[in-house]
Amino acid sequence: MLHAEIKTLQHKLLEMGGLAEQMLRQAVESVLTRDETLARIVIDTDDTIDEFENEIETLCIQLIALHQPVAFELRFLMMALKISRNIERLADKSVAIAKRSLELLQYPPLKPFVDLPHAAQVIQTMVKDVLDAFVNRNAELALEIRERDDEIDKIYERMHEELLTILGEHPQLIQPGISLLLLFRHFERVGDLAANISEEVYYLVKGDIIRHSDAH
């Protein structure tokens, strides 16, 4: 009985994750192609993500109360709560990226995006892979995803420094520059959130907490 409910819950989590993945893709696209419509779609989708989070939380609490799960089922329900929370935060970051994208539309392009498409690619693959690791209970993939966060951090630092150099030379670009800086920061946070989910997937499969251990 609980087994069937867990399947339903997993299905809901995947739907939510898929939607968040789509939001991230659209938000990135809206920045790269300066597409206002896409940015607004991302902002509007956030309510659906919030509904998913509420629904999943309610279901987890009910299943814990009604079935008193142990072992894998207990880990699954506890991690479902955390994963849905992290997916919701991830979707919030996509909304934030979309909002920065709208701000940037008010200015001419600041500089050609070189690192950003690469960072976006890495992040989107991370989010997609972490959902795959969750479905397939793949702890090794989860561990590997977690390490990819380092790459995001390095790109973030590089973009950050490059932008500071540009702003030093062209102080009149301070406003779009700040929007872009915040946007980079949101990217970096998405990487952190995907890494959090990978740690939760690892715990789900192996039962070991790796949150505060070294990624290497």
């Binding site: 009985m1 609980l2 609490i61 009910q62 109360a65 009604l66 079935h67 008193q68």
Partner: protein, 255 residues
């Protein structure tokens, strides 16, 4: 499960019960919805068994039994039904201790259908097989149908009693502590079966195992000293009960 918009099959209105001077149920009112599992939980002597026995009219012959209020089955007051046997055909009962009848495994399941007038043996064969399959017991007994049920485990005997109750095609099936005598594995079997049976039947469950009620029921009622303290969606009773006594009971601090 959503409880709104599901039709009621049984309505209990202001039901009070006395054994002599002792009042054991106090002004109970609730609706049992079709196709759902309604569980009554509560400590020993809270009135659970008395309540479910009333729904099956098993108290008719209890000395000094007296009741007020109504139990309506499909809108008709059960107290007015002159034929309690016909009523019990529609509302079956499974007890705590499995009590197979004398005779073979086959005869146990065929019995109800036979006294209802089914005689052709091929038809009886179908009824026996169908109902043993519904309980998941068929593969375990298909080669020993002519033998007596004593050789079966207690859990298998309970499944046999459920098959026997199903064979008369009731609309409601009442379980009075059906797992009281069973081990944990057999209990899981019965609980899984209960969930499956909701496709075709309405189930009423009396249990003092609160966790069991949580696992199997859609709607739960908490009885305490003959009063229905709280009645509502099971997930609500077990996550956010409204009465402090229910909270105390479901968390194991009362009863």
């Amino acid at each position: 499960m959503q409880t709104e918009n599901v039709p009621s099959i049984l309505s209990v209105r202001n039901l009070s019960i006395w054994y002599g001077d002792k009042q054991v149920l106090r002004d109970l009112s609730f609706e049992v919805k079709q196709g759902q599992v309604t569980a009554f939980i509560g400590p020993t002597n809270s009135g659970k068994s008395t309540l479910v026995r009333c729904i099956n009219r098993l108290n008719d012959f209890t000395p000094n039994f007296r009741s007020t209020g109504d139990i309506l089955f499909r809108g008709v007051a059960m107290g007015t039904a002159s034929d309690a046997t016909a009523l019990r055909k529609q509302i079956g009962m499974v007890f705590r201790k499995p009590i197979p009848f004398r005779g073979s495994i086959y005869e146990n399941v065929a019995y109800g259908a036979q006294i209802s007038g089914v005689n052709a043996s091929t038809h009886l064969d179908t009824i026996v097989e169908k109902n043993l399959r519904k309980t998941g017991l068929w593969s375990e007994v298909e080669n020993i149908l002519g033998e007596t049920p004593e050789q079966l485990s207690i859990g298998q005997q309970q499944l046999l009693c459920i098959a026997r109750a199903l064979a008369v095609e009731p609309e409601i099936l009442i379980f009075d502590e059906p797992c009281g005598e069973l081990d944990p594995i057999e209990t899981v079997k019965i609980e899984t079966l209960v969930r499956e049976l909701t496709k075709d039947y309405t189930l009423i469950f009396a249990t003092n195992k609160r966790r069991q009620a949580a696992r199997v029921s859609d709607v739960a009622g908490f009885l305490y000293c003959g009063e229905l303290i709280e009645f509502g969606a099971t997930e609500k009773i077990f996550t956010n009960p409204q009465d402090n006594r229910t909270e105390q009971y479901v968390t194991g601090r009362l009863g």
